[in-house]
């Protein structure tokens, strides 16, 4: 077994919403290996962002929200870390890039000030060295005029430029794990392609690992080696990207792929999935996808499907697949 950077084992998260405690993540397990880009894909409310927040220990309610499971980062369980210990890990060993760079940058400080601040929090170096390091990082993300960008305020930069700055900042302490939460959703396709290429090149050069969260299967297919498909707080299918996107086994993954307009063919029919993604709060017995599933059987509404593992570590949570075996 290869050594992992991050191992999530049976993670279960409860969050307080509307005065009640709701289970938002159900028994999630996955691994991230060194140098790989793992995709987390799902629709809104599937628990992608909660998973990211749990890994970074940024859940409201702190680690009390984690009611079960382990988050093993380089062998250490993050669930037992104190806030101060986490502070030292966040930004240094693991970093995060958010969807909207405008809201994750401070509008009243220049890029340079914020950049130097991050570097000096984690590294014992002089201001001058930090500035030099920041400029190098900005050059590394191919920003044409790095000195000017260094002195700019976030509002002076375009969306694509801000996202480059975010990637540079996240990489500044060479973290071994980067979590990118829908980093290109707010951008135009041409800029998106640039950012994806950049992200891939940075990972290759630094040998860090990335958890790439997205709802776009096209982006996942272009960037990731393995993917976990999430639905309503569960991972329902998990494995190598090519296998899952070309030969999906779970009815949800299949339906999701059929509901995307295909760019390369002329077809004019699109199969939609009836109904909507259930509310996080919905209490449900059995498989969480069964009300919308085209292949549901009687057992699906009664009992949770047991995970099945096919060759190449292809994991599926579905009664139909487990019965066929």
């Amino acid at each position: 077994m290869k050594e992992t950077i991050l191992s999530i084992e049976n993670l279960t998260v409860d969050l307080l919403s509307g005065g009640e405690i709701r289970r938002v993540l159900h028994d999630i397990s996955f691994d991230v290996f060194p140098g790989e880009i793992l995709g987390l894909v799902g629709e809104s409310g599937s628990g992608k962002s909660v998973t990211a927040a749990a890994i970074m220990q940024l859940l409201t309610g702190g680690n009390k929200a984690i009611v079960g499971g382990k988050i093993l980062f380089k062998g250490q369980d993050l669930v037992n870390k104190t806030p101060a210990q986490m502070q030292a890990i966040r930004g240094k060993d693991m970093a995060m890039i958010f969807q909207e760079p405008m809201t994750s940058l401070n509008p009243v400080f220049t890029i340079g000030t914020q950049f130097v601040d991050i570097i000096r929090t984690h590294k014992a170096i002089t201001e001058k060295e930090a500035i030099q390091h920041a400029l190098n990082m900005l050059k590394a993300v191919h920003i044409p005029d790095s000195e000017r960008t260094f002195q700019s305020y976030p509002y002076e930069l375009s969306g694509g430029m801000r996202q480059r700055v975010m990637i540079a900042m996240a990489q500044s302490c060479s973290p071994s794990l980067l979590i990118a939460d829908e980093p290109t959703t707010a951008l135009d396709v041409t800029i998106q392609a640039q950012i994806l290429r950049l992200l891939r090149a940075t990972v290759k050069n630094s040998r860090s690992s990335v958890i790439f969260i997205s709802h776009d299967l096209g982006v996942i297919s272009q960037l990731c080696q393995r993917v976990a498909v999430m639905y309503a707080g569960e991972i329902i299918e998990y494995g190598v990207v090519e296998t899952i996107l070309q030969d999906p086994k779970h009815p949800y993954t299949k339906a999701l792929l059929h509901s995307i307009p295909d760019f390369s063919t002329k077809s004019r029919t699109l199969t939609s999935i009836p109904g909507t993604v259930p509310d996080v709060q919905a209490v449900m017995t059995g498989c969480r996808f069964h009300p919308r599933c085209a292949e549901r059987q009687e057992i699906c509404s009664k009992q949770k499907p047991a995970p099945v593992t096919l060759p190449e570590n292809h994991h599926i949570n579905c009664w139909k697949v487990s019965k066929e075996r």
């Binding site: 044409p144 392609a193 297919s221 996107l245 070309q246 760019f263 004019r268 993604v277």
Partner: protein
């Protein structure tokens, strides 16, 4: 096919005045000519800031064009006054991108759908009630939803409600401004299929604005590609999407993330939408264009027909002809 709507050299300039700097003119829509036939879907694609949404407000006459003609069924409405426009308003309706901000949160579904009918005062109260129920059923909602407020609906249902509202006064043209961008993919398919069903049943014509090329390709009959207020390519959907001629269209299509197609390995340096208009006359795409040559900046480039119904604004194409 008849021309339901025709735009002739429509221009919209905004002036930006600031205290210390020079007054700037922004050409949001710059000499756009296009036609919409009855029963067809015209897709408009382009990156943010290319003037797609300004074009929509001009067609709706929410904005007055700086110059040019907007012919609705043969009548030029470009310079019509508010009073002249009122009887025509119900012929063109719009569905907005964000179903969360485009529905009044204090209105029930019934009030939302009935409001346009109340405004034009053509209908009796009983007729309104009947029509609201019929419209809700038409878009896949039901009677039970009548008295619910927007927050009780999901994103997809809200967008259905927006569509029902747009259909109340029997429009001929619907402008769909990124109608599915805020929706989940599984729900997006439902709304797209509903729109196609309605088009067949009611004989509607659509102007479908989106930055998502795959969606535009799925719904449109013809497509216009916009760059900095100008149309750079226009033609049948298969021609434009499968055999693009303009280098900008090629760049856009190349950037669409397609499952199984590897990410292209071009340069990593930052490039954004650039406007070469400040330099001189000529092609606006000059600064980004891989085929850019000196002569591209020397003359004004017009949209020319390259093949039947396929128009391109590019000197390279003009020369190769």
């Amino acid at each position: 096919m008849t021309n339901l709507l025709e735009l002739k050299m429509v221009e919209k300039y905004f002036t930006k005045r600031s205290f210390l700097e020079k007054t700037q003119t922004i050409r949001a829509v710059d000499g756009v000519s296009l036609t919409l036939h009855k029963g067809e879907t015209l897709g408009i694609v382009g990156e943010s800031g290319c003037g797609k949404s300004t074009l929509a407000s001009l067609i709706l006459r929410l904005e007055k064009p700086t110059s040019g003609q907007i012919l609705l069924g043969g009548t030029d409405i470009a310079q019509f006054s508010e009073d002249q426009l009122r009887p025509l308003r119900s012929r063109i309706q719009i569905v907005f991108q964000d179903p969360y901000s485009s529905l009044n949160p204090r209105f029930t579904a019934r009030q939302i759908v009935a409001e346009p009918m109340r405004v034009i005062r053509k209908w009796k109260p009983r007729e309104i009630d009947e029509k609201v129920v019929r419209l809700l059923e038409l878009v896949g909602l039901s009677k039970e939803h009548l008295h619910r407020y927007p927050h009780e609906f999901s994103g997809g249902q809200r967008q259905r409600l927006s569509i029902a509202r747009a259909l109340t006064n029997d429009p001929e043209i619907l402008i769909l401004d990124e109608p599915t961008s805020a929706l989940d993919v599984s729900v997006q398919a439902q709304v797209l299929n509903l729109l196609q069903q309605l088009q067949t049943d009611l004989g509607l014509s659509y102007i479908f604005i989106s930055h998502n090329l795959a969606v535009v390709k799925y719904v449109s009959d013809r497509v216009a590609v916009m760059y900095f207020g100008k149309i750079v390519e226009l033609g049948a959907v298969e021609d434009v999407m499968l055999h693009p001629l303009h280098p900008y269209t090629k760049e856009l299509i190349g950037a669409v993330p397609v499952i199984g197609r590897p990410l292209s390995e071009v340069d990593l340096s930052y490039q954004e939408q650039k406007n070469a208009a400040g330099l001189s006359a000529g092609c606006l795409y000059y600064l980004r264009c891989p085929l850019a040559k000196k002569h591209c900046l020397e003359k004004t480039i017009t949209l020319l027909e390259y093949a039947a119904g396929h128009q391109v604004a590019c000197l390279e194409m003009e020369n190769s002809k």
